[in-house]
């Protein structure tokens, strides 16, 4: 499996994402000016401060040539994972519903959080809810991560099973509506979340729970 990781000017976590992907397959960086995804089977839009987060987080990156290619790739059913700034980019691009606002306390916050996970496209025995503890331990770090959508849209997301990741009780670091940490599109092949699974792939740095999220993305794009 070939993973493509986008790189914008101002990306910060692209090398970490590249490393995480390389644990599961081949991984390549895709420069923001490329229109060609280089045969990637799955795409990661990484964290950071693309284009300095000027105007609004993700607002400029969505217009990059690489993002045009990602939109086409997603429309064709290709799996796409947006992490933090990548989640913001996907929301700005209209590939995911909702928006990310400034954290409730108006401060950047970096801490380990516990995530509850809905049903993943993975074998039953590896469902997170079946694991000891039933949650994933993953770092979150952002200043604009408060998930927001109109109430009726939130209801719809819940009804459609589009709430992919939720902060466990007491772990919501930013005031997100309904403790939502990540959402997927209706088709299920595009998913975005604020916490950083690429920073939870090594027991030495704290946790390997992030690998589950990459595995689920890979499975979402696997032939049925």
């Amino acid at each position: 499996m070939i993973w493509g990781v986008l790189q914008f000017p101002g990306s910060c976590d692209e090398r970490d994402a590249l490393h995480a992907c390389s644990l599961l397959g081949e991984a390549r960086l895709i420069w923001h000016e490329e229109r060609d995804l280089g045969g990637a089977d799955a795409v990661v839009v990484p964290g950071g401060f693309s284009y300095g987060d000027y105007l609004r987080a993700g607002a400029i990156a969505r217009f990059s040539p690489a993002m045009e290619a990602v939109a086409e790739f997603a429309a064709a059913g290709g799996p796409v994972l947006g992490i933090c700034n990548g989640f913001q980019v996907l929301c700005e691009a209209g590939l995911l519903p909702g928006a990310l606002l400034r954290n409730e306390d108006l401060r950047f916050t970096c801490r380990q959080v516990e995530l509850q996970v809905g049903h993943l496209n993975l074998p039953e025995e590896t469902q997170v809810s079946a694991l000891p503890g039933g949650t994933l331990s993953i770092p979150a770090k952002h200043g604009e991560g408060r998930y927001w959508a109109p109430e009726e849209m939130l209801d719809e997301l819940e009804a459609n099973g589009q709430v992919a990741y939720r902060y466990a009780p007491g772990h919501n670091p930013n005031g997100s509506a309904r403790d939502i940490a990540g959402v997927r599109n209706k088709a299920g092949n595009v998913v975005g979340l604020m916490p950083h699974p690429e920073h939870a792939v090594d027991p030495l740095t704290g946790s390997t729970d992030g690998l589950r999220i990459f595995e689920a993305v890979a499975a979402a794009g696997a032939p049925a």
Binding site: P9, G10, S11, C12, D13, R15, D16, H19, G48, F49, Y51, G52, D53, Y54, D105, R107, F108, T109, C110, R111, P139, K141, G143, H196, E198, H199, V201, D202, L204, T205, G206
Partner: protein
């Protein structure tokens, strides 16, 4: 054009310095030349009151790759890699405008590190403010912490550690010291020396504006006083996005071998970069200011030469490679321009459209500033005042809670959670989980530990002993994670060296730094001096900040400070002779006065070695040094972090003719609180190192028995006190 006498004084030069410039030039300097001299002959750039003292510091060691004089120091970490690091101050800009002052402090130290070809991998910061009950201090604190986060988070470099102290003498003159650690392939590193007559000089990064003009002389080399708001235009404005692009661009250029040398533009802007590169290379340099990309079209040549606009780098490039360099800059959307040429003239020449507007011998400009001897005199007693905030009748339990909730001892979670501590996937020990930050270096097959320390209050009590303690504290922190020191950087934050008391503090502190480094065998590979830190109420506490980098073979074995297992024994290891002199408790009681006991450096070093080896052998469950607030606070911190109580008896200490109060709350170097299996702890005792078994881990209380001052505090209550500030700020 001649310049009136008043002008050079306005720019911070003395009459005799001005006369010397006239003598060296053989004529009066013009406006451009005077502006350039005033900056390079400022304390900030020329170290004219400190350079002679700094010669005392040991700078050589087997592992040193780059020493003082380069943009940053560097040590070999094996596998063909070197770690570059440096700490630098941005005190006065932060006191005037804390957000931008602190942000650009981080930006500046990052540039120093990537100028060597090292990718920045970690930031640590050392901050000092007045007490939290002051509106000014809270404003400065909030701005500085947000500024550090803004820059470090945006550029994607992990902030992994640091320290913050609150003391009244920093009320008007806060301290913001930032340290950056970078990793480089040793063979790809570059020095900041211009070479190759005929080579092009290329300016890269942000355009040049009027911000930060005179920052090094007007702001950094003078005392703060009334009317400092007017100095706000001398504070630079940071743009981490711009720096992120410049960083990637420079690393790509160096990786491709396209640069002869590289230098960042910091204090004094183009003037110092061009001058210092020429000086280091023994060449001359021509700069045409008409080719410098500007933010404002009508800038004067002197303004262009001294602007401190941020996010700029200066490179020397072979003429045949210039096009390739400009192409890489274009890829990274980094503005670049060929603005000059390396010459054999030995002169720094400033041109505008080919017309010479300034011409000075490099030697006079960069190395010609007179160096001054200090006129030190010990002050007559304690000059900083006292204020009592703790009832002298408080019980031992009340005292412990007061200490845990005091701003200096309390958890700094409220600050470090505002920083990205994990980006880069290297952070093995996050802030407050261990005594030192631990970073893995998979490419080099090793790991490093980093700590930054310096307790100004104790240095004020005895500048020599206090500075020795700062070095020893770093060494103890490294020992707790199993690391052996490789190299040291420092930032000497002091008051006015032209005043006898300030001179005495600086002189004694540098001697302490030199002696401690010598005894530990740790070379000083770089540093920075920040003088004239005085406000209307007087000087700051003399504050040498020490940053220490060490190596450890197995990061997985790095001990945390948290108690880990119920039933583990608790030991005190090392030559710990606690005293209330200069302690946090003495501060709360308003009993500060001159004098500190002297540390036995060799004995502390031996204890560090014992602890380091025990950690590496996997013998310990936790390791924590005894520091602010004494043994009781060290025990409480390990208990709170591990969510496990403890039962200890300090009476073995009382046999060392130490009082109960000193045993609980006294401070001094050399003590480690260790937990683990009793037999393993006992086996650490030797002729050189004493080990006292104090008790065991367990229960839901911190219970300490010590003669007439025993205490028992619930873990929940202790945790609440220790996190009170974090909770208050999180609201």
């Amino acid at each position: 054009m001649t310049v009136g006498v008043a002008k050079h004084r306005e720019l911070g030069l003395t009459d005799s310095e001005y006369d010397l410039i006239v003598e060296k030039l053989g004529r009066e300097p013009n406006d451009v030349e005077l502006a350039m001299f005033s900056l390079l002959w400022s304390e900030h750039c020329a170290y004219k009151h400190s350079r002679k003292l700094l010669r005392r510091l040991p700078t050589e060691g087997e592992r040193v790759v780059m020493g003082p004089g380069e943009n940053a120091g560097a040590v070999d970490v094996g596998g063909g890699y070197a770690v570059a690091f440096k700490v630098e101050s941005h005190n006065h800009p932060s006191a005037v405008e804390p957000f931008q002052g602190a942000a650009t402090g981080v930006g500046g130290i990052l540039r120093d590190v990537f100028a060597l070809g090292a990718r920045p991998i970690a930031i640590l910061d050392s901050l000092r403010f007045g007490e939290l009950d002051s509106v000014r201090s809270r404003h400065l604190l909030d701005g500085a912490v947000r500024g550090i986060g803004h820059y470090g988070n945006s550029i994607g470099v992990a902030t992994v550690g640091g320290e913050i102290y609150f003391e009244p003498p920093y009320e008007h003159n806060c301290l913001v010291n930032a340290m950056c650690v970078g990793l480089a392939k040793t063979e790809e590193m570059v020095r900041a020396a211009a070479a190759g007559v005929g080579n092009a000089v290329v300016l890269m990064g942000a355009s040049t504006g009027r911000d930060g003009i005179g920052g090094a002389s007007v702001l950094a080399s003078a005392e703060l006083g009334d009317g400092d708001d007017a100095k706000r235009p001398t504070v630079q404005i940071g743009d981490p996005f711009e720096e992120s692009k410049v960083l990637e661009c420079c690393l790509e250029l160096l990786g491709k071998g396209l640069l002869v040398s590289l230098q960042d533009l910091g204090a004094a802007g183009l003037t110092s970069s061009a001058g210092e590169m020429a000086s280091a290379g023994g060449v001359g340099i021509d700069i045409d200011v008409a080719r410098v990309p500007l933010r404002e079209a009508d800038m004067e040549p002197f303004e262009i030469m001294v602007s401190e606009s941020q996010e700029r780098m200066l490179a020397v490039v072979e003429p045949s490679r210039v096009d390739e360099v400009l192409a890489v800059c274009e890829k990274w959307q980094t503005e670049s321009a060929e603005i000059g040429v390396v010459t054999d003239s030995g002169q720094v020449r400033v041109l505008r459209d080919g017309e010479v507007v300034g011409e000075m011998p490099v030697e006079a400009l960069v190395d010609g500033c007179p160096l001054y001897d200090l006129d030190p005199a010990e002050p007559d007693g304690w000059i900083y005042g006292n204020r009592q905030t703790l009832d002298p009748g408080a019980t031992a339990g009340e005292t412990l809670l007061a200490l845990l909730s005091s701003a200096n001892v309390a958890s700094k979670r409220w600050a470090f959670e505002q920083y990205d501590s994990v980006v880069g996937s290297r952070t093995v020990r996050r802030p407050e989980s261990a005594d030192a930050a631990v970073l893995q270096l998979p490419e080099a097959g090793s790991a490093i530990a980093v700590s930054i320390d310096g307790n100004g209050r104790r240095v004020a009590c005895d500048p020599y002993a206090g500075t020795v303690e700062a070095v020893l504290e770093c060494a103890q922190n490294l020992a707790c994670v199993g690391a052996e020191p490789l190299g040291l950087t420092n930032c000497l934050n002091f008051g006015n060296p032209e005043k006898p008391a300030g001179a005495w503090q600086l002189d004694r502190a540098v001697s302490g730094l030199a002696d401690a480094c010598e005894a530990l065998g740790v070379p000083v590979v770089g540093g920075n001096v920040s003088l004239y830190n005085e406000g209307p109420d007087g000087p700051i506490y003399p504050t040498p900040v020490v940053g220490l980098v060490g190596e450890l073979p197995d990061p997985e074995r790095a001990c945390g400070s948290a108690f880990a297992s119920e039933g583990d024994a608790i030991a005190l290891l090392g030559p710990f002779q606690p005293s209330l002199a200069g302690s946090e408790l003495a501060k709360l009681r308003g009993e500060l006065e001159m004098g500190l006991p002297q540390s036995d450096i060799a004995a502390v070093a031996a204890a560090c070695t014992t602890v380091r080896e025990a950690v590496r052998a996997g013998k310990l469950s936790s390791a924590h040094d005894v520091s602010d607030g004494g043994l009781a606070c060290a025990l409480a911190e390990s208990a709170i972090a591990g969510d496990l109580g403890c039962r200890v008896d300090l009476s073995p200490l009382l046999d060392r003719s130490i009082s109960s109060e000193e045993a609980l709350f006294g401070e001094g170097r050399g003590g480690f609180v260790l937990s683990g299996e009793r037999a393993a702890l006992e086996s650490l005792a030797s002729n050189a190192t004493e080990v006292l078994i104090l008790g065991e881990v367990g229960g839901e209380k911190i219970e300490v028995t010590t003669g007439d001052a025993s205490l028992a505090i619930g873990l929940v209550e202790a945790e609440r006190a220790w996190n009170a500030i974090s909770r208050a700020i999180a609201l």
